[in-house]
């Protein structure tokens, strides 16, 4: 991968002359990297226990079938097989998982193993535990399951049709959720418009992220206490325990979640509670620890996929000058066979209802259906990525149809920097940002000033040349109150995260965080924040690696997901450190004889008197006094513990359930990408020859970590845009279940990637920072946009799908009329 980091010419901070002493904003080396590059990380599969069993899941070969019998006797005959678990046992020992959806969608009965019926290829049916991983796998092949095949539901757009087979009889249809969203006055917008652009259908495809480490866990059961210790790579233990504890009929205190290093999450590792419950039951049944590591094909086949979505009957009222007044659309979302985090995706898109645009009139009919495919769930950019791709397609198609310049129409419709904080039609507050400036920076990165000259050069070589733009708003720090907009009976709202910061007996500064880092560098950025506040260096700050819910650094929403660590995690770290600073100052003032804490300051690991810095008390002495010699303290200082726990709670409000209105998330990082392609008109093969990605996530705590996230998100987007797709046949067989058919881009697949940034600090967060890292969707849009520009010279096809491998480009070249028939313009 070739790369160039480009700093904008203008100052990166809003306050141009401000200097930032300390470590925030500095690319200090990541504290985690030494152990990781030396192979000394501890991932879930590195943890072993005496006499532990290895678990393999026998999985459904059918997309839809009734289970008529299960016979595990042949598997049990193998020496070294410890035991099995089947659906009937699960149904007897657990309750079905809690459902987020209201009835009837909420009537789905979802268990840790299939009970009576399988609903997607790869669904776990029997768990087999044995002395070795290979033996467990072989034994699983000996499990005999009789199936009675049922007709599968594969086409999401027909799933709700009368007469279609129903996946969940209790639901009564395949519709999980339906809701109307009506903001502004769309009818008035139509009346005001000069033209209406109509688009029959746009399609966002099904794909997923590919963490290096697949899901896994080591589960132990303590018969004496009735507690399970779950060493896993689940990335959202706060959610997992809410799902698992009621199912297992225990309190959440019985579920101890532990992780150290996690090899990528991307949302895939949020919904592993299903497998974890099976492991809990097996550990209890077999009286031994059980280990499960997901095979890669199983990860592709049956882990959480990203949602497929179609946008139908789209209408966009437009003024003669290119001002767009809003949109109307019917959206159908496919959540796969089970609702494990769904139907939250039915509301999460609304965090970014108008995208980056000043569109005030929006009417959406949103339906989520289930199909006989792998269950869907959060996937980097969850639900917003689909919607933001839609908004970017809309603006490019409108530009194309009305012959408007794609840059100009964006700038005409972008929300302006001087309008920030900006309230969207549905009550979300975009905290800060300058989209037009980000676009200018992105265009500079791809030398847009000379783009026509480059187009002529490419055309002289027989290539079609296109330049495209894509944007995403990476909304972060969820307000879980949005869940009440899909189910008013839910009792969730707000968000929280925990950190403890303490000064120990020999002066050690020890930080514990409630998050479950998966490679985002939390140890480093937490140390940077603490170091600046305590007047030490990040090397002096020991951030405990990983997560353990027994550390008391665990709250209801603990975890790493939804772009929030820079706000929630570091907000908690900042809050705890402020408490510690105050306590250290109180000790210092007392020991140094200062009148108040205002008369001392922290520097270099000492508390010092302001009027006489020579009078200094080392942190080590503070730690020793409070922890081991506290009788020397005056009585009024005996409440000091130097062990400070802080729960950061963002300033969320309850949304209005009736109007589906309110601020659904706290921050909005911006990504604007520009992409340049050359297309071979004979074959449809194309190459991304230039690429610029500009990110604005407010104050960057560690620019190098931000840069890494931008690279990763962009790679994910380009893979999805060009070839990654989960394709099912009419039987519900997944045709792309492994790396042979599902190609994840590697370094050599990546185009020259240039990155830039601006910083628009958030006025709402403790550090001015915003969550970031989920902005890859901009790449999906940018590739589509560039391809459409390139195809303009050969029939003007309309790019209607989010995934465009060469064969699809070739089809658009061969038959541009087919896609063009999808779009029309009506004069009002």
């Amino acid at each position: 991968m070739s790369e160039t980091t480009t700093a904008p010419e203008r100052p990166v901070t809003v306050e141009a002359d401000e200097t930032k002493p300390g470590f925030i904003g500095v690319s200090v080396p990541r504290k985690e990297d030494k152990r990781l590059v030396q192979g000394e990380g501890v991932f879930v599969d590195d943890v072993k226990r005496h006499a532990m069993a290895y678990v393999h899941f026998a999985r459904s070969p059918y997309a839809h079938a009734a289970i008529t019998s299960i016979d595990v006797s042949k598997a049990m005959e193998l020496e070294g097989v410890y035991g099995t678990l089947i659906g009937e046992e699960v149904a007897a020992q657990t309750d079905a998982f809690f459902q987020i959806a209201p009835p009837p969608g909420g009537h789905v009965r979802d268990y840790a193993l299939a009970v009576g019926r399988v609903r997607h290829v790869g669904e776990p049916v029997v768990a087999v535990a044995a002395a070795t991983r290979e033996l467990a796998r072989d034994a699983a092949d000996l499990v005999e399951v009789e199936y009675e095949p049922l007709t599968p539901v594969v086409d999401m757009e027909r799933a709700a049709d009368p007469g279609m087979p129903v996946l969940h009889d209790e639901v009564g249809s395949n519709v999980i959720w339906n809701g109307q969203f009506d903001y502004g006055d769309f009818d008035a917008a139509l009346a005001e418009a000069d033209k209406v652009v109509k688009i029959d259908r746009l399609h966002f495809h099904r794909f997923s992220s590919t963490p290096l480490e697949t899901s896994g866990a080591l589960v132990e059961y303590n018969r004496g206490t009735g507690q399970w210790t779950i060493q896993s790579n689940n990335q959202f233990p706060g959610f997992a325990v809410i799902m698992m504890a009621p199912a297992l009929r225990v309190g959440i205190d019985k579920l101890r979640f532990v992780s150290q290093d996690i090899g990528g999450g991307f949302g895939n590792k949020i919904c592993t509670h299903v497998q974890l419950v099976a492991l809990c039951l097996l550990a209890r049944k077999l009286r031994r620890p059980v280990n499960w590591t997901e095979w890669r094909t199983d990860q592709h086949t049956a882990n959480s996929h990203g949602n497929e979505r179609v946008f139908l009957d789209v209408e966009v009222p437009v003024k003669a000058d290119g001002t767009m007044l809003g949109f109307r659309a019917r959206m159908i979302d496919d959540c796969g066979a089970y609702t494990r985090y769904e139907p939250l995706g039915c509301i999460i898109w609304a965090q970014v209802t108008p995208g980056a645009y000043r569109w005030r009139n929006v009417r959406v009919d949103f339906t989520q259906v289930c199909t006989n495919k792998s269950p869907c769930g959060p996937n980097r950019g969850y639900s917003r990525m689909q919607h933001l791709w839609f908004t970017e397609r809309v603006i490019d198609i409108v530009a194309h149809e009305l012959d408007l310049d794609p840059v100009e129409i964006r700038k005409r419709n972008y929300i302006r920097a001087d309008e920030m904080p900006y309230e969207t039609p549905n009550g979300c507050i975009y905290d800060s940002g300058d989209y037009a400036r980000c676009l200018d920076e992105a265009l500079k990165l791809v030398d847009y000033a000379n783009i026509e000259e480059r187009r002529r050069d490419a055309e002289a070589r027989g290539k079609l040349f296109g330049v495209g733009i894509g944007s995403t708003l990476d909304s972060g720090t969820n307000n879980f109150g949005q869940s009440t907009l899909v189910n008013p009976e839910l009792q969730f709202s707000g968000n929280n995260e925990v950190a403890t910061v303490k000064l120990d007996i020999f002066g050690e500064i020890v930080v514990t965080i409630g998050t479950t880092p998966q490679g985002q560098g939390h140890e480093t950025t937490a140390a940077q924040v603490v170091a600046d506040m305590l007047g030490v260096t990040p090397d002096d700050v020991n951030v405990r690696a990983g997560h353990d819910s027994y550390w008391n650094s665990h709250a209801g929403f603990s975890g790493t997901y939804a772009s929030q660590f820079a706000v929630t995690g570091l907000g908690a770290v900042k809050g705890a450190t402020e408490m510690l600073v105050d306590q250290i100052k109180r000790i210092g003032a007392a020991v140094l004889g200062a009148d108040s804490t205002d008369d001392v300051f922290l520097e270099g690991g000492f508390v010092k008197r302001k009027d006489n810095p020579e009078a200094a008390l080392p942190f080590m002495a503070c730690g020793a006094i409070v922890n081991a010699n506290n009788a020397v303290l005056p009585m009024e200082a005996r409440d000091i513990t130097l062990n400070c726990r802080y729960v950061y709670v963002p300033p969320h409000q309850l949304p209005d359930k009736e109007r589906k209105y309110g601020n659904l998330t706290l921050t909005y990082a911006t990504q604007i990408h520009a992409c340049v392609v050359e297309v071979d008109p004979e074959t449809g093969e194309y190459e991304i020859i230039d690429y610029g990605a500009v990110d604005d996530c407010g104050v960057r705590i560690n620019p190098q970590i931000v840069e890494g996230q931008v690279h990763g998100a962009t790679a994910q987007a380009l893979g999805a845009a060009t070839h990654e797709v989960f394709t099912y046949d009419e039987e519900g067989n997944l045709l792309t279940p492994n790396f042979y058919d599902y190609h994840v881009p590697h370094a050599l697949d990546m185009p020259p990637l240039k990155t830039g940034y601006i910083e628009s600090p958030s006025p709402f967060t403790p550090l001015g920072a915003k969550g970031m890292g989920e902005g890859g969707g901009a790449g999906l849009s940018a590739v589509c946009s560039a391809l459409q520009d390139a195809l303009k010279a050969r029939g003007g096809a309309i790019v209607w799908d989010s995934c465009n491998p060469p064969h699809r480009v070739w089809e658009m070249l061969q038959n541009p009329e087919q896609s063009r028939a999808n779009v029309r313009v009506e004069n009002m």
Partner: protein, 150 residues
């Protein structure tokens, strides 16, 4: 996946019918049959090995004749399982007299699940077509042999 076709035989309908309805002769029709067990006149089991190019697929297939109208029509259901694949097939044929010979219209609805199924129709269709062709060619030979005076 659904496959169908027509075939003509230079033999009377009764001869063709007998070949198609004799499990032992059916065994000779199927490519890759390693063993064959007849349970009764309606049910039999075949262990077959089907070449898949890169390897072969072992399947134990249970057949059951679900409908017949001698000498013109029969329907069979086949259910097979093996490592990596589960097969479900409904097949039927109709025989009609045409002069001294016989024409056969046949249909099969083949469902393959499991990892082999994930290869998809694009890969499996030619394999199924090849297998069908092998069966039909063997049927030609069997019918011809049945016609030959012994």
């Amino acid at each position: 996946m659904k496959v169908q076709g027509d075939r003509s035989f230079a033999a009377p309908r009764e001869s063709v019918w007998q070949v198609l309805n004799d499990p032992a002769q059916m065994a000779n029709l199927m490519p890759g049959v390693e063993s064959f067990d007849i349970h009764d006149e309606r049910r039999w089991t075949a262990n077959v090995k089907i070449s898949l190019g890169l390897g072969s697929l072992g399947l134990k297939i249970d057949f059951e004749k679900t409908d017949e109208r001698q000498p013109e029509f029969a329907r069979l259901h086949a259910k097979g399982s093996g490592i990596g694949a589960i097969l479900n097939m409904d097949t039927q044929f109709a025989l009609a007299e045409q002069g001294d010979g016989t024409t056969m219209h046949w249909e099969a609805d083949v469902h393959i699940a499991g990892p082999v199924g994930s290869m998809g129709q694009r890969v499996l269709q030619p394999i199924v077509n090849q297998q069908v062709q092998n069966v039909l060619n063997a049927l030609d030979r069997q019918v011809a042999a049945a016609q030959t005076p012994r």
